[in-house]
Every structure is written in C-alpha cells, then in structure tokens.
Symmetry: D3
Subunit: 243 residues, 6 copies
C-alpha cells in the first residue's frame, strides 16, 4: 500500500519530518512517500496563504493520482480536504480531522491545542461538524519560532495547558507543525491521551484502503469529468477533464 504524505507549504524540511512521523506510525507493508508543492507559501499561517495552498495541494496530488492508494494531507488546517476527496480516485485523510475522529472513539469530549491563534481550529472543528464533541480549543501563547528556540520552556507551557484542559477534555489533539511529535515527550506525564495528527491520519488511511469503499458516482464528491480550464498544470487539468 502506497500512502502519499502531501505537504501544503513549500518547505521540504516539513515534508521530510511528516514523512518520518508517518513511517513511525505506518503498518508493515505501508509505503510512505512525500510530496511538496511547487509553489505557494513557505509556511501557512494566515487565511490567504491557506487559500493559495489549496490550489498548490491539488496540483501536487494530481501528479500522484492513480499511483498511490491513499493520501494524507500533512497540513494541520486540513487544507482543501473536501476538494481533494472529490478530485482523487483514492481515500484522502486530513491530519487534524483524523486526530479529532480518533479522539471521538476514546469517548467524551476532546480539546484542540495549538500555538498562537486558536481561532482557525475552532472553525476547522465546526467545518468537520464536530463542535458538539469539542470542549475547548486553546492557543498557547508562544510562536513556532519560540518553540524552536526554547523547546523545553514551550513544552512546559503545553504540558501545563494539557493539564488544565483535562478538566473538560478526555483527550487533547495537538495541532500545528510546531507541536508535531510533542505527544511522545508529554504523554507520560499527561492526564489524558494526546493525539498527533500524522499518526492518526496514517492509521485512518490504512483503514480506508482496507475497507475498499467505492467513490460515489453522484453528488459533490463524484469524480470530475469534462471540466475545462486554462493555466493549470497538465496533471490537474487532466483530472478535472476526467482523463
């Protein structure tokens, strides 16, 4: 089984880190490959960058259509998730979506924790229709830059936030590249399970491949066909045309 880990920004190092995390989670026999967009933003941190990344991501995916068994979107905003599901002939999983759905299966309410502005994740949880299960979305007052410069101090801030959230949340999703992998360090002392998007998404991708469900033939997730375009990459234009 080939699983594509598709980054949505142009930073190769982030792709590599996500691929490594995916390989740790993958079952034997799951082949993990990474992809980085050819255009877009170095890091996605605003609404405009995220909107641009949607196109970049779809163009990236189109290069792999038919050559992978599943896609994991390696961007915590689950950028272009619905569009990618329509476009691609294989399952597509968002990393934050996967972590939230996994949290649902642990029971009760979950929380989402990120660095900086928490608002986009509140909107994301609502877009996924999971607001009823989410007890809190919290942003720790630290930047990704600070997390790199002072990792222990920021990790302590995150651990403290998790401990407070545990009063309301039965599990906590760690969202955003800056928190990637931090679940391993913090889990031993955390009162509730910590969920990492890439790991959850890889397992969910494997699940969907195993279930072998067909694509719908009707509705807004049916494969595109006969759509004409200009100025798009050949692979993307071909997928829209249904070729």
């Amino acid at each position: 089984m080939r699983i594509l880990i598709a980054n949505a920004n142009t930073t190769e190092a982030i792709t590599a880190a996500c691929v490594a995390a995916a390989r740790r989670a993958a079952a034997p026999g799951s082949d993990i490959i990474g992809a980085t967009p050819a255009f877009g933003c170095t890091v996605i941190s605003t609404r405009a960058e995220n909107a641009i990344a949607a196109h970049a991501l779809l163009a990236t995916l189109a290069e792999h259509a038919g050559r992978v068994d599943a896609v994991v979107l390696a961007v915590s905003h689950d950028t272009a998730l619905e569009a990618a599901r329509q476009l691609m002939p294989c399952p597509v999983v968002g990393m934050t979506e996967a972590a939230c759905l996994t949290a649902c299966m642990l029971g009760g309410s979950f929380g989402v924790l990120t660095l900086g502005d928490a608002r986009p994740y509140t909107e994301l949880v609502a877009r996924h229709g999971l607001a009823a299960r989410c007890a809190e979305v919290r942003g720790v007052a630290a930047t990704p830059q600070q997390a790199m410069a002072e990792p222990e101090r920021v990790a302590a801030m995150v651990a403290e936030a998790v401990a407070e959230m545990a009063a309301r949340c039965d599990a906590v999703v760690l969202a955003g590249a800056a928190l990637a992998g931090m679940d391993r360090a913090l889990q031993p002392a955390a009162p509730v399970p910590l969920l990492d998007g890439i790991g959850c998404a890889v397992k969910m991708a494997e699940t969907l491949v195993a279930l072998a469900l067909p694509k719908p033939s009707v509705g807004s997730f049916a494969a595109p066909a006969g759509r004409t375009s200009q100025g798009l990459s050949p692979a993307l234009a071909a997928l829209l045309a249904g070729h």
Copy 2:
C-alpha cells in the same frame, strides 16, 4: 492482537454471524473471539431491553478484561459504549459509531438506514455528537422477520432507499442486525458507499490498538476504583473495585 466481539443480546447465532463478519474484515494477525451475555433479551428492539443489555454487556466484558486488546460492541445501538470505555482497560469501539466516523472521512454528509423505527438511530447519532454530519436517518418499512422470509424483496426496498438517500447523503450506514452484510450485495449498484458497522469497527479497533494511547487518569473515563456493589458478577464487581 485479540479483539473481542461482544454481543449484547443472548442469541448465540447473532454472535457467530458477527464474529464471521469481523474475521472477514480483520487484518492478518488480528484474532477475533466472540462473547454472548449470560442474561438479557433474545433480541434488543426496545428502550427497556437496551437498558438491561447495558448491564449484561458490562458483565460480559468484565470476564475478558485484561485478556483482550480491544473490544467491538456487536450491537447497532452502541449499547453501554461510554460505560464500557470507562470500565475496560483497552479500547472499545461501537459498530454504528465506527461506521459513522468512517463515513465522515469520506466527506460531506452521511445517512443511516435501518429496518423499522429510525428514531433510536437519530438519538444515537445525536448522542455521538454527529448530527451535523448526518443528513438523514431512514427506516425502511420492513421487519427483521420479513427480511429473513423475503430477503430479495427487502433488499430491493433497501436499494431503493439508498438510491433516494444519495440525493442528500454521500455515504449510507446500514444499521441493525437485519442489514448486516447487505452492503456486499448492494454496493455494486449503489450510487454511494455503503458502510457496515462490524467491518468498520474492527478496523477502528485495530487502529486504536496500534496507536497505543493510554487511558485517562482523570475524569469520567478514568478506570473505576474502590466502588462497592452487591449482587453483581464477581468479575464485574472486581473491576468496579479496581482489583
């Protein structure tokens, strides 16, 4: 990995059918075992029977605590799911919950289809906090008895309902023992993916085992300890006591 398929009614044949379905879905290396309650109702079809089944199910699970890696509740009402998660030291997955969460990962809205009264499933979807993703819960006007006596006629009714639901639903969950396995027969002609609870639940159980998340140490899903009782089975009483 040992996965317990726990029936909630006292009919051994249903346990056997669920175990068979689970084995079809299980990964190599997943060992499927079944369990049937020692008391309760022959078939669960009303609120009172479901309430009684919760106790029967917990008593059944208690016999296997510590001896299985995960539990799948083989009852479409996801009976006692939250209580089982608190009680057991391993992951517990509900079959309808698992199918609904899988449907979420296909994108858009899902529907739930059952025979007879659809109301309990509307309540179940709401209890799982997934009402925002569920476009329709529909009951086909046929009894389980009719489904056994005239399987082709009822299958045709179900297929017709699926086709109508596809105008609103991007996937359809088949709920209730009478529809178990019908996805295989109807999927080829269905316009949207059909989801079978046991299959989805087994994959989700495997996922949770692989993720190896700890139980919370606080809150309402933390393991019970020091609880005293009378008249319960020794295994159940011991789990409540934290022994």
Copy 3:
C-alpha cells in the same frame, strides 16, 4: 394516589431520605412509598455504575408495575428514565429533569450545581434537550464525604457558587444526593431560586397523574409486548413479554 420513590443504588438510607423529602413535598392524598434495588452499586458515581443501575432500577420498578400511580426516579442522573417510561404503565419522572423543567417555568436561563465532576450533568441536560436553557453547569470542588464531615464549610462553598452563577442563571438546580435538601438552608440568602429534584419531581408526578394522559400505542414509548428474555427477574420478564 400512590407515588413510588425508586432509588437506583442499594443504600437504604438514601431511599429513606428521598422518601422523607418526597413526603414534605407531596400533596395531601399522595401516598409516598420507597423502593431500593436488590443489586447494584452502593453509590452511583461513575458511568459503569450508572449503566448497571439502569437494569437494577427497571427490575425494581417491575415489582411495582400496576400497583403505583406514578414513579419518581430518586437518582440525580435520571437513570433509565426513557426505558422506564416505555416499560411502566404509569407516568415516570426524573428528579433532575423535573427540576430543570421547573426552572424553565421561572423564565430565562438556569444553572445546575453539583459536587465534584460536573460533566455528567452537562450530558444529562443535553440528553433532555435543554442545553439552550442552561447557562452553566458547575461542580463545587468538594466530595460527598467532605459534605458529610464538614457540612457548614461545604454549604458555604455552595452558597458562594450560587451567588456567582446568579450572574448568568435565573435559577439554580441542586443536583446529587449530597446537596439534597440544601435548598432549604441556602434559599433565604440566595439571589435566585434554588430547585431540589425530589420536591419538583413529586409535584410533576402529581401533575401527570391528574392530567391522566394515555400511553402512546405506537413508537418507542409504547408498552413492550412479546419480548423474550432469560435470566431476568420474573416481574421484569413478564412486563417485557407484555403479560
């Protein structure tokens, strides 16, 4: 009119206290009788205990079916309320439900106050479909044991919480056995009405008996009939069978 006060745990002293509270609230002519389950947990404080208590409660009610005019569930989790309504030939009222509905009739928003973990009551209010009317569910940081050992200190904590909640809540429901009857002591100094579950439930039971509404003959609250079971008490099995 005979009203059954049905405890859901096995502690006779709690049954007796609830019966006494019910008698204070009952109209002249309302005859209050109590019942305690023959099996289950000494005190219900976790999800698993509550699930077990549902069976115990139904078995207890079955002993009185046809011999009482109404039932009050004397357990603040409103355990098995819907199942009991289906099973019994008479009205069944939950004590927290009754207090919440009474609060609705006072206007505006209500709050729910308990000792310890507030989460189960948040879920209970949502299960009753009353979340839109509930402005706050708060748990005072004290255990029932502390409430017994240091009643004045805990009463002061409760009074302070009520005073704070009054900024958002036009009435406060006191939930949980440890707060039973505390409304009488705290009401004089409280800025908003305090609602005690047993008192409200007894009046609501009297109201439902007076209205003499029939049971539905269709749907999931219609009386069970023809249901087969094994290992249940004779009275419960007979009710399920429709005898």
Copy 4:
C-alpha cells in the same frame, strides 16, 4: 389558591371558555378567575396584534398583582410571558409552554399542531429553547372560521394530522384557541397523547404555587423598581415604579 386566567385579546367569550377549561383541570381548592384586556385586538393572529397584546396583557395583570397566587396566560402565543414573569410577584405560566414541558415529561419528541400558519409556533418553541425536543410543527389547512362552521370536518383533519405526526412525535400539543378542548374528543382514537394548553398550565401553576419559590433578587426577572413612565394605566405604572 387563586389563579388568574388572563386572556390577551378583547373577546370576552374566549376568556369565558378558557376559564371553563381551567376549572375542569383545577384541583379542589384552586379558585379560577378570568380577565380580559380593556384594549387591543379582537383576535390575535398576526405579529403586530401580538406585540400590541403584550402591553394589554401586562396592563391587565397589573390590576391583579398581589391579589392572585398565580397567572396563566390564556393565549397560545405565550404573549409577554417573560415580561409578565418579571412584572408580577407570583408565578406566571404560558399555556403552550406548559403543554410543551408536559410533553417533555412523557419522553421522546413532541409535535405542535395548529390551524393555519405553523410558523409562529416554530418560533415560539425555539424561543422556549425546546427545539431539540420538537420533531414537527404542523399547520392544518383550515381556518378558525371553518372550525366553527364545520367542526366535524376539521376535527377529522386534525385527527388525520395527529396520526401522521405520531410517526415522529411521541405526544402532540394542540395550539390555538380553535383547537381548545379538542383533545377530549380526539384522544380516544389518537395513537399518542394530546396536550391541551390550559389544562397543563393550570396544573403547572398549582405546582409552582406549591413549591413556593422566591422571585430572583437580581437579573432580568427581578421585580422592577423606580421605573418612570407616562400614559400607562395607574396599576401598571405603579408596578414599574415598584410601589
């Protein structure tokens, strides 16, 4: 106990009919008195008429403040209910609110049935925060005039609507003066309980009087004081002033 049945339109015959219905429901010892506004609309059937009726109703209530133990608003729109609760020193119950809350205690979902435009009742259920419990609001295509001219034909239409609603609703509230009392004729053949607003409201008023809850001393339901006005009735102006 004196209970005021306060009409909100100027038609004395409707007041009289409501008083009669209230007397049928009242407990021995409950003294029912009626009141009709001195100004306003003959019948309330539009938004503007209802807004005007709020003032008329408050002016009517003010004449009885301190001289009754409870108020029932005998208008199916629950006109000025929140304002009346703030203004009056005694409990105030709305007839549709009371029927909806009673329906909640029967379990499951309720429906609301009226003649003509159902929209106002959809808004009313939402205003009461009970939308989560209400499965359907339906308007039978008949006018109050037709209900008077051809009572049997309209009763048959209502009975048919009830039978259809029973597929989704475990109880049906009959709303609007034209359906008042129709529950008695239709209940025997109806598959679910039918709820009449006046009867439910009288019992709820008796319940609130028996519970003897205080008015809040803070918030938007505290009694008005020191409010100045011009052109209002002396009694209403005095209540606002806190005299």
Copy 5:
C-alpha cells in the same frame, strides 16, 4: 428619501441624539426625521418596559405609514422589529440587527458590548439567528448614570473591554444608548472595528430603499388586513384593518 428614526421611549433628548447621529451617517438626499412615542417608559431597561414599548413604537410608526420610505428603530433592543416589518409598507431596520449584520460582512466573529446586564443582548443575537457568528456578549460593570457622570472613566473601561474582546472578536458592536457615538472616540486606539447601531441602520435602510423589494403577499410578514381592535390609536387601528 425620508427615513424615520423612531425612538421607543418617551425621552425626547434621546430621539434628538439619535436623529443627529443618523444625519451624520445619512447619504446626501436622505432626509432624516425623528419620532417619540406618546406613551411608555422614560428609559427602557427591563423586560416589561420593552414589552410596553412595542405597542408604543407601533403606534408611533402608524402615524408615519405611507409618509416615509424607511424606518430605523432607534432602540438597541430592536423592539417590535418583526411586528413593525409586518405592519409598515416600507423597510424597517433595527439598529443592533444592522450593526450585527454589518459586522458579519467584516468576516469572522463579532462581539456585543454594553453597559450593565448583557443577557438581553445574548437573547437578541439569538432571536436574530446570529449566535453562530457572535463570539461574546459582554456587559461592562457601569451604569448609564455613571457613563454620564464620569465619561472618561467609563470610556476607559469600554476601551479595555474592547481590547480583551479582540482576542475572540473581529469586530465589536456597541449596544445601548449610553455607548452611542462612543465608537468615534475609541476607534483610533481599538484593535478591531467598532460598530454603532444608528450609523449602520441608516446605511442599511438606504440600501433597502434602493433595492426596492416588494413586501411579501403571503406569510406572517404580509400586510395586515381586516383586523378589528378597540382602544388603539386611529392610525394603528386603520393599519391593522388594512385601510
């Protein structure tokens, strides 16, 4: 274009202030006229006063029906807004509604800020169906009297509240007469846009006049006709009668 600024209390000075604010916002060619009710409360600050004001406002509007092109309700509770829309032959805009809808067009979430009890505005936002866009409703702990006596101190409190709300709100609506016009003083230092009801409402009224949309001929916003009444002002009675 003639726009009526309709006050709902009897204080002429407030009418004059609102008219002045409206003139500052009005386009060239928009003629602003004011109106003050002949009866009612000096200032509306409780539920009962607001209910009375609805009648007073409709009576005031009726005097201008057919002689103005649009109405702005100059009362932050949007008193009688729906009734006024039904009654009047021209567009009617509520000042808080207009500010909230304008805030929606700035993107993200808005907040509402007032002096004193915030609860009525929480209810108002819900009545307008905008709760999903409103992140916070906050009451600054100051009275209108204090705002008049110590304007700088209260302005500083408001500015501080705005700064805190900006963590959740992308715009803040200032609600209540005591904050009218304060947007001009506080905007330069505020981190998010501040919205004043009168200004927004005048622009929205101009927009609706320009769009020249017809009144519905069916439903609960169609013009009244044939309604009979007693004790109402001649103009109001005539509008209800459809003359």
Copy 6:
C-alpha cells in the same frame, strides 16, 4: 468610489454580465470595474474547481489592491471570501452572503434557490453562520445549459419553486450564474421578495465604504506581513509580504 467586480472563473462573458448587473444597482458616483482571472476553470461547478478558483481570485484581487475602494466577489460560492478580506486593504463582499444578509433584514426566514445540486449552498449558508435563518435550500432540476436553451421553461420551473418555498420562506435568494437577473422577470408574480446577489452585494459594498471602518490590527483578518512565498504572482507575493 471604485468597486471591483471580481469573477472567479475565466469566462469573460460572465464578468461582463456581472459588471452590467452591478452598474444597474450602483449608486451614482460608484464606478464599476470588472476583472477576470488569468487562470482557473471556465465555469466553477465542483469542489476542486472552487478550491483552485480561490487562488485565482486572490491573484486577481492583488492586481487591484490599493486601487479600488471595495470588492464584490462575483461568484455565487463566495469563493475565498474570508481570505480576500484578510488580504485586501478594502471591504470585500460576497454576492450570496450579501443576498442572505439582505434577506435577514426583511424578517423571518429566507430560502436559497439554485439550479442543480443544492448541497454547496447549504454548506455556504452554514459557513456564514446563517443556518438558523434559512428555512430551505432547493435545487431546481435543470442544468445551466437547459436554462440557456429553454429559458422560459426553466423560468417557469423556478417560479413554481419560489411559490412553493413561500410556504416556509419570507424571501428567496437566487443563487448561481444561471439565475442571475431572473429576479426582474419573476418578481412581479412572486409571493415573496427575490434577491439577486450582485445587486445586494453592490449596495453592501457602498455601505461598507461609507462606514469607513478600519481593518483589524489583530487576529486572522489583520493584513498579512512578512509572509514568504514562491511561484506566486508578484502582486500577490507582495501583498503577503506586506509591501
């Protein structure tokens, strides 16, 4: 005042039609200019096309940043609306959003009517937080191609749908390019107001320009600064960089 009408597909004829509609609605002094993306899809009708159009639209807007006073997104999906608001230094209005908010000011509930699949508009209304005001989203069973080939037949289908929707909706928003301008032909016979997105959006854009509200300096709608990118148009890259 210069208002940019920004198309999101690459069809110049649609841009021209939207510009013409905008000019009909614009106030004297409002200068309407149009823009068409340099890349993207000929017509946007699927999720993937819409995601690609977001980038194309932002690139188009970036060419005009600082040179227009407001932007109207001339695409009924309100594509990239939130991102455009963050990116641009002037107000940005979505055409369907504007029509829905205008409908809110008419009172009661609105409906949305389109050709073909209605699902995307249900999601759009929810994304705008207006689901509580929207009574129905309906897709007429006709394609844009049929609307061009048989305009009278499709217009009759739309008129019939509007008439039916009027039982629940107090106004109807016509959504999608194929229905653009149809409000003028159908309004005379329609029972409720019909709302055209371009007209409403132009008036709302004029309103926002007149109110002269500042951009937020904090949060997710603050202007981007210091963002690095590759492969984007110079104008778009410069805006993201904050130049």
